[in-house]
Each structure stands twice: as structure tokens, then as C-alpha cells.
């Protein structure tokens, strides 16, 4: 997947996650800034899940700013997928 523009998905509500995606130069790697209210309990799980999702979309270079308010794993994946697809202009946001 080729990222073309900045995009975001999710919200700052409890049990949700807000994900911002920013394209970076090729070779820059995955720059992930993760904040979570359940960092101590699930920080490693979250990071592992995000890397696995990025693997699935074959994205090696990206900047992600993730602010998690205790979202369940399917929510995290769904928000990340939407944010990435918006950044790749494969899917438009609901706001026109």
C-alpha cells in the first residue's frame, strides 16, 4: 500500500483509539508514537498488533501517532486499517 497523504481515524473517546498516519520517505522505517491508558498491561500487545497489521498491508515506512483509550484489539485493527486506507486515498473519510 502506498501512503500519499496524512490521514486519521478513530476518536479520543473511552474504549476507542485515535490513529494519525503520516507518509515518510522510503527507508525511514516505522516511526510509532504509542500512548495508551493500558500501556502497562497491554503496551507490548498493542505494539505487536500494530506491526502485524502493517506487515499485512506491506507498509515499512510510516509515521503513526496512536492515542489509545483502552480500545479492544478488533477496534485497534479497524481504526488502523481505515487510517491507512485514507492515507493511501483508497477510502475517503465520512466528512466531505
Amino acid at each position: 500500500m502506498e501512503l500519499k497523504t496524512k490521514a486519521q481515524a478513530g476518536s479520543f473517546e473511552s474504549s476507542d483509539v485515535l490513529i494519525l498516519v503520516e507518509p515518510v520517505e522510503k527507508g525511514a522505517g516505522r516511526i510509532i508514537e504509542l500512548k495508551s491508558i493500558v500501556m502497562q498491561q497491554f503496551g507490548d500487545d498493542l505494539l505487536g498488533q500494530i506491526h502485524a497489521n502493517l506487515d499485512d498491508f506491506k507498509i515499512d515506512d510510516v509515521r503513526l501517532i496512536i492515542n489509545d483509550k483502552g480500545a479492544l484489539p478488533p477496534t485497534v485493527s479497524a481504526r488502523l486499517e481505515t487510517a491507512l486506507k485514507r492515507a493511501a486515498q483508497l477510502q475517503s473519510g465520512t466528512l466531505k
Binding site: I37, V38, Q41, F42, D44, G70, L72
Partner: protein, 517 residues
């Protein structure tokens, strides 16, 4: 040593002394007499027509000759509006008093402002039924040199009359008091209702100061606190924020999940075999617990069942049920909202009771022993039904033991209501961080994802199943929850024990370790 719930308890802790391991809810009590001695209350005398009135709280405190290492006690009936604890501790700190043991019946976020005095050596130990907010975080991180003690409401009374808590000075807020110290919380601009937790302090403290924003003509009635125990009386401009002390009613939650849990819990209660003519009832004030009362009220009306008494922390919802004739009486140790005060004052069947009569295990029968049904909350519950109501998901102290273990041990039917997980944090799990109430006291857990009956209660399970209520194995529920949230890493703690959780009989049911920062 390990206690019966396999929690590692030190033999002895500096600042507390030798510890006794928890051996079961009734292992100590079943003998019927206790080896612990009741300490004598102080003997005092006053000359006729001498004055107890002091101009300021500072003057009154000075007259009690405060000293380093003293124990100062407070009640928490002012709820979130309390400012007296801060004012009093500030005066003691300004006088240079150090090494104070703070014995408050509970500490809430209203007490956050005293945190600096935890850090500078003014306060070095805490006894309380609950600790929250900044204080709860700081003590879990080990800010105090001596271990804190979490007790139940009933256990606090036992601790005072057996001398585990030796109160040098009790500072008791009242919303009305006279010049001799007869005092109440039932009326006045800052009316807060029952003074149930303060009674034991007035009887056993070496010196007692009554503080009020409302001096009334002698005699102040009702006499929740009586003059024969009171040394000094102070009129202050303010005992706290009246809008938070005397404001508002407790509303029933509108959260759909809490309401669903409450609806299920009411079904469980209806078919438990305990909802019958003359039953007694207690519910917590939080989330789903209070909402259960709403559905029980409907069922009682529909089936024309009348109860005997409502016990405990009382909300205006309980008062409504009394006024509707659904219950014959209310026994009120603590009023959760201000709307309760007028009922306490005017209705002779709404009766103020001291904490000892409410829940003290060391007497000839507290009222929690007469409970038929109690509905309680939980921060966590394990697959043996052990409940944590004191430490949160990060290991900080952010709750209260309160009457949880007292009522759970006494009631015929103890129902715990809670969601199976909150956000991503599992609530039903294999092991809880801290045990406050032993699983043997819990009969049934009601969550949005299933109803689990304690395997010891086969009759209850049969009753529910014959009414068509589906029952789930708690192990299965815990696995289901872990499947949804993922497996949480345990809270990281150090070896240092920063606090202990006393069971109501004074044995140690668990300890709280220092949280790694």
C-alpha cells in the same frame, strides 16, 4: 506466612506489629467470645457551667496539647465537600507536629490537598476504610514511612475499642451543635445526614472537638453525638463546600450496560428464594448496584411484597421506598445524599445507627448479620469469587473496603454486580490484585456476559435454573473475557509492603505492595 487465600503475609510489620493471617470469614467469630480486650475509654470531668466554646479550631487544638506521634481521627460524612480534614491537619502542621497517624473513617478525592503533609513527615501512617485520588496513588508508591491499614466500617469500630487504633484527638464535623457539644448532621445549612461513623470516635478518643458552622440553642436535637463525650466546641465559618455536602440526590445510572446488569441482578434476586415478605435489603450507591433497587422496587410492587428494613449507606432512592411503604424502616449509618437528611430528621422509622451496631463483628450481633439481600460492586473478582474493591488496574489505591466484607459476610444472599471488563481491563479474572472480601461470602456474580453462582451454593443455582435463568461457570466467563481483552500483564510491584488490608475480624486478608513508578 500464607493465609487461607494463599496470600503471603509478613509475620510482623514495623509500624503495625505482629500480623494475624486471615483463616476464613467466621474462624475467629464462631467461638462467640473474643480474646482481644476492650480498652477502657478515658475518664474525664468538667466543672458545672464551664464553657467548652473555643473561638477558633486552632485554639481548640492547642487546648488538647497536640504532640508528635499522636493519632487524629475524622469521619467522612461530609463526602466530597469535606474541608475540615485539610484545615485541621494544616493547623497541626503549622504547629510543627510530626509523625501523626491519620485515622479517618475514609479518605476521598476531597482530601487530595493534604498530600503535601504525607510528604513532609507530618502524617506518617493512615488508617481508613478507603483511600482515593492523589492520596491513593501516593501511598501505593510508598510515600508514607509506615504501612497504611485498610479496614472495613465494622472493623474500624473493633480496631478502636480493642485499642489497635488509639485516638488521641477526634475532630468531628457537625451541621448543627450546641455549646455543650450535642451534635447532629440531620439539619443546618450543611446538613449531611447520619453521623454513624463518628460515634465510636466520640466514645473512645482521649479528647474530642466538635466543629460546626451552625451553633444552635441548647439543647441540639437529635443528639447524634452527646455532650458527655465532648471536650471542646468550635464555630467555624465553613466545614466545607455546602453544595457538595448538602447538595443533590443520587441518580440512578443511565448507562445501558449498568442497567442491563441491574436488570439481570433483579431477576436473580427475584428467583433466589430470598425475596420474600419481610426481607431486609442493602445496595451500594454506585453504578449498577443502586440501579438494582429500581427493578426490585418494581418487583415488590408487582408481587405485593413488603420488606422489613433497608440498611447501610442510604440514598434518597431508599427513602422513596420507605415512603411508599415498601419497607418498614431504614437504619442509616451513612447518608449518601443530602435529600436523606430531612427524612432522618422527620421520619421516626428512619433511624440513625452507629457503625458498631451496623457492622462491628466483635459484639452480640451487628445489623449486617440480619441482612437478607445485599448488592455490591467490584473493581475485580477472581474465579474463586474473591473481590477487590480497593486497588485499581494500575495498582494504586482507588476505592474503599467500606461495608463490603461486613455486609457480604452477614447477608443470606450476596450479589456482586459489575461489567465483565471495563475498557480493555478484565474485571472477571483468574487472580485479583488485592483481596478485600473473601469468595466464601459471595453467592452470585452478575455481569452483562453471564451469571455465575458460587459452587458452594448449589441450592441457589438450582433455584435460578428452575426459573429458566442461565448460569455460567466463572472459569468459562474469565476465559471468555481474556479472549476479548487479551491477557493483561500483571501490575509491577516491589517487595516492599506499603499497606495491609484487614478483614473485619482484624486478621490480614491481603497486603498491598509498592507500585513501581
Amino acid at each position: 506466612m500464607k493465609n487461607i487465600l494463599q496470600r503471603e503475609i509478613p509475620e510482623e510489620l514495623e509500624g503495625i506489629g505482629k500480623l494475624e493471617a486471615f483463616e476464613g470469614a467466621f474462624s475467629k467469630l464462631k467461638k462467640g467470645w473474643m480474646e482481644e480486650k476492650t480498652v477502657p475509654p478515658p475518664n474525664k470531668a468538667k466543672m458545672p457551667h464551664s464553657s467548652k466554646i473555643c473561638d477558633t479550631l486552632r485554639d481548640a487544638i492547642l487546648k488538647t496539647k497536640p504532640r508528635d506521634g499522636m493519632t487524629v481521627s475524622f469521619h467522612h460524612h461530609l463526602r466530597g465537600g469535606d474541608n475540615l480534614v485539610y484545615e485541621a491537619i494544616k493547623i497541626l502542621a503549622d504547629l510543627g507536629i510530626k509523625d501523626i497517624t491519620l485515622a479517618a473513617s475514609s479518605l476521598t478525592t476531597a482530601h487530595d490537598p493534604i498530600l503535601p503533609y504525607f510528604k513532609d513527615g507530618t502524617i506518617t501512617q493512615v488508617y481508613a476504610s478507603g483511600i482515593r485520588g492523589e492520596l491513593g496513588k501516593a501511598i501505593a508508591e510508598g510515600v508514607l514511612p509506615k504501612p497504611f491499614v485498610i479496614h472495613s466500617h465494622g472493623g474500624r469500630v473493633r480496631s478502636v475499642h480493642t485499642g489497635k487504633i488509639k485516638i488521641d484527638l477526634a475532630i468531628l464535623a457537625a451541621s448543627a451543635a450546641d455549646e455543650e457539644g450535642n451534635a447532629t448532621g440531620a439539619h443546618g445549612p450543611s446538613a449531611f445526614g447520619s453521623m454513624g461513623y463518628a460515634a465510636i470516635d466520640s466514645w473512645y478518643a482521649k479528647q474530642v472537638i466538635v466543629v460546626t458552622d451552625n451553633i444552635v440553642d441548647y439543647p441540639c436535637v437529635p443528639q447524634s453525638i452527646t455532650q458527655n463525650y465532648i471536650d471542646y466546641v468550635v464555630k467555624v465559618d465553613s466545614i466545607g463546600d455546602p453544595s457538595k455536602i448538602a447538595g443533590g440526590t443520587t441518580r440512578i445510572t443511565k448507562a445501558p450496560m449498568d442497567l442491563q446488569i441491574a436488570r439481570l441482578a433483579a431477576q436473580v434476586i427475584e428467583h433466589s428464594g430470598e425475596l420474600k415478605e419481610g426481607f431486609s435489603f442493602q445496595v451500594g450507591a454506585g453504578g449498577a448496584s443502586l440501579a438494582v433497587a429500581k427493578y426490585i422496587r418494581k418487583i415488590m410492587k408487582h408481587r405485593s411484597i413488603k420488606g422489613s428494613f433497608i440498611l447501610g449507606g442510604v440514598t434518597s432512592y431508599g427513602v422513596d421506598m420507605l415512603n411508599e411503604g415498601l419497607f418498614r424502616s431504614i437504619f442509616d449509618v451513612q447518608s449518601f445524599d443530602a435529600a436523606v437528611s430531612s427524612s432522618l430528621l422527620e421520619n421516626q422509622y428512619h433511624i440513625e445507627i452507629p457503625a458498631g451496631l451496623y457492622a462491628n463483628p466483635f459484639n452480640c450481633g451487628c445489623m449486617t448479620n440480619k441482612l437478607d439481600i445485599v448488592v455490591l460492586g467490584a473493581l475485580e473478582i477472581d474465579t474463586n469469587f474473591n473481590v477487590n474493591v480497593i486497588t485499581g488496574s494500575e495498582g494504586y489505591v482507588r476505592g474503599a473496603s467500606g461495608g463490603h466484607s461486613d455486609t457480604a459476610s452477614g447477608a443470606n444472599l450476596t450479589v456482586v454486580v459489575c461489567p465483565s471488563f471495563r475498557g480493555r481491563i478484565p474485571i472477571v479474572k483468574k487472580k485479583v490484585h488485592t483481596i478485600v472480601t473473601p469468595g466464601e461470602s459471595i453467592d452470585v456474580l452478575v455481569t452483562e456476559r453471564g451469571i455465575c453462582v458460587n459452587p458452594q451454593k448449589s441450592e441457589l443455582k438450582a433455584n435460578l435454573e428452575s426459573a429458566g435463568i442461565k448460569v455460567k461457570d466463572i472459569e468459562v466467563l474469565a476465559e471468555e473475557v481474556e479472549g476479548i481483552t487479551g491477557k493483561a500483564k500483571p501490575i509491577e510491584t516491589t517487595e516492599r509492603v506499603v499497606g495491609i488490608v484487614e478483614y473485619r475480624d482484624g486478621t490480614v486478608i491481603d497486603v498491598i505492595h509498592q507500585v513501581k513508578e
